[in-house]
């Protein structure tokens, strides 16, 4: 089977700190990582390849040239090849424009390598948390989509997949024919580590395309073609600090807390 995995390089948001004086984000020294849900997407493709060794996995991404570091990691995990769209013309794209750009990459892939069976993506990226690009690529590729995938099975003939889609209070079991777009959650699997063999394999390559290479329509990508714009951005103001509850023992502290609750009619 031919599988495309959409991946994004993101700053590790757990490592971001705020400068308490200026309120600005401190991004210096914050490591860039493969977006966690995208690692689950790649792992699911690799599991498919474990079962069906003829599976070919292409990871696609959009970003600055240094995103090749993340794609190198994907290859070392076991992907067969990677394509990066890197061009200033696609910079500043919102989710709508990003999906136009990635869809153009996929169209170019089809021209060069023929049709694909499945596109896997992560549920959402930790920098924006929007979960929009996956469904929007599906729309532009005219594919059926299933989001929040927590279990994935493919039929013998590779033409039908059966997935569990997570809901807040349970799940749905959904059957869909290929080609289709699936977005993956962390509950789906445990991503593997890079292998030594993968790290030292020199045959695999990362192709970097610019906008002209993948014939992107420049009127539908970038900041100007994005229907949403950032109006203002800022850091949240911490809620005013309260006070420490007085008392020498735990019992006293508890009694003072409850007394204050009652005094203020909180309970």
């Amino acid at each position: 089977m031919k599988v495309i995995v959409c991946a994004k390089q993101v700053p590790d948001t757990n490592e971001i700190k705020i400068n308490p004086e200026t309120g600005a984000l401190i991004r210096d020294g914050v490591p860039s990582i493969l977006n966690p849900d995208d690692a689950n997407a790649l792992e699911e493709a690799l599991k498919l390849k474990d079962q069906r060794p003829d599976t070919h996995i292409t990871v696609i991404s959009m970003g600055p040239p240094q995103a090749t570091d993340m794609l190198f990691e994907c290859l070392a995990m076991g992907a067969d090849e990677a394509i990066l769209l890197s061009d200033r013309a696609v910079g500043g794209s919102d989710t709508f424009a990003t999906s136009n750009a990635l869809s153009a990459v996929i169209d170019k892939y089809v021209k060069e390598f023929g049709p694909y069976d499945i596109i896997f993506g992560g549920r959402q990226a930790i920098d924006g948390d929007t979960a929009q690009v996956g469904p929007q690529i599906a729309e532009k590729q005219h594919l059926p989509q299933v989001t929040y995938v927590v279990d994935f099975q493919v039929s013998e003939d590779g033409k039908t997949v059966t997935v569990k889609r997570q809901l807040e209070d349970g799940y749905e079991v959904i059957e869909v024919n290929t080609p289709c777009m699936l977005t993956c959650t962390k509950e789906l699997n445990e991503p593997r580590y890079m292998s030594m063999k993968g790290i030292f394999n020199k045959d695999k390559k990362i192709t970097v395309w610019n906008a002209a290479d993948c014939e992107v329509d420049l009127t539908v990508v970038g900041l100007k073609a994005s229907p949403t714009n950032v109006f203002r951005s800022f850091t949240p103001r911490p809620k005013g600090k309260g006070s420490m509850v007085a008392g020498d023992t735990e019992a006293e502290i508890a009694a003072n807390l409850i007394a204050s609750f009652k005094e203020k009619h909180i309970i």
Partner: protein, 357 residues
């Protein structure tokens, strides 16, 4: 869609229903839409959009919670949610009736459906909003009270009535206000539990518009074989008046036994930080924070939670926050109304004992 923005009127709320029950977030959005509509003009109507099959009876609930109009989109193929069917009928209804704003709950269904519709309608969508404004004056008021934004460049008398959609990004480290200035409708998904419902007015009524739905089996490419409700304990963090949340300071999964006993005592529900969920101490359904549930209970007990920004993003609007932590420098104390520095295993039993006195 059309470039003549003035053709677009009214606020739509996708009134998500599952198995014939309206989701709480849909009623919250009707409440929010009521406020926004007033800030636009007297003509602007709050419209609930009900999509399903055999759900006529739900219109009344929408009216009683504040909808002026209900658009009914019914068809046997809309019985259960599918992206294809719902996206098709919603997009076609939008093309026909031209709403100015469309709001969706940021549920597993809303977050699947809305981006698909936005892509098809060639319009913008802002995900997981926690605050909405149309009036610049009210946006300034909000920004002054809650943010570090310099508002001096904003004109409170501006005629701008575009939707200003505020959301957290970078794990809650940064907030951004997004606009969709050139396309209509302006669309947003909104986190459950953030907006407030209107007071229910029994017998309040409005206009129902039955929309002709065009749908064939071939339009729906996914087949729902089964819908499984998991027997796992239902956690309704968004509706809870009191939440007792545990963090890494519990030291292990057994710590949640104390938190559960505490919650039972005070009539609350159990919450958790992301660290505990990542460690497998408790199910994700309990997680409060940017990647979990946003909550605003009357009392939030943060027990052994250090207060990572991603957690604060999900609970700092609680009425009263009580933080119990061994570390007096834990950031959670920065947002707490009541701080207790101490061993939660000693403090909590004492609070439980004092509770009834």
């Amino acid at each position: 869609m059309s470039t003549n923005l003035a053709d677009y009127k009214n606020i739509w709320v996708f009134a998500e229903q599952r198995q014939g029950k309206i989701m709480g977030v849909a009623l919250e959005l009707i409440g929010e839409a009521t406020k926004l509509a007033k800030d636009i003009d007297d003509e602007t109507k709050v419209c609930a959009v009900l999509v399903g099959n055999g759900i006529d009876h739900l219109a009344q609930e929408c009216f009683e919670y504040g909808a002026d109009m209900v658009y009914m989109l019914q068809h046997p193929l809309l019985e259960n949610f599918t992206t294809d069917a719902y996206a098709k009928v919603m997009t076609e209804a939008m093309e026909e009736y031209k709403p100015d704003i469309v709001l969706y709950g940021a549920t597993h269904i809303g977050r699947d459906l809305a981006p698909r519709i936005a892509a098809r309608a060639h319009t913008g969508l802002t995900a997981d909003c926690t605050h909405l404004d149309v009036s610049v004056a009210k946006y300034i008021e909000f920004a002054k009270a809650n943010t570090t934004l310099d508002t001096s460049t904003l004109d409170p008398n501006s005629p701008d009535k575009g939707l200003k959609m505020t959301r957290p990004a970078f794990g809650g480290n940064l907030m951004a206000t997004i606009i969709s200035p050139r396309t209509r409708p302006q669309m947003a998904t909104v986190r459950p539990g953030v907006m407030s419902k209107n007071e229910r007015v029994e017998g309040r009524t409005g206009e129902v518009v039955n929309v002709a739905v065009k749908l064939e089996e071939a339009d729906v490419r996914t087949k729902v074989l089964e819908i499984v409700k998991e027997a796992k304990e239902m956690v309704s963090l968004t509706d809870a008046d009191i939440i007792c949340s545990g963090g890494r300071g519990l030291g292990g999964p057994e710590g949640f036994e104390l938190i559960k006993a505490f919650a039972d005592k005070v009539g609350g529900v159990v919450g958790s930080s992301r660290a505990c969920v990542d460690n497998g101490w408790i199910d994700h359904a309990h997680q409060v924070g940017q990647t979990g549930t946003t909550v605003k209970p009357q009392i939030y007990f943060a027990c052994g939670i250090s207060g990572a920004i991603q957690h604060l993003a999900g609970m700092q609007n609680s009425d009263i926050i009580v933080a119990i932590n061994k570390d007096p420098d834990a950031p959670i104390f920065e947002v707490a109304d009541y701080g207790i520095v101490g061993d939660l295993y000693k403090v909590i039993p004492q609070i439980m004992e004092a509770w009834d006195k």
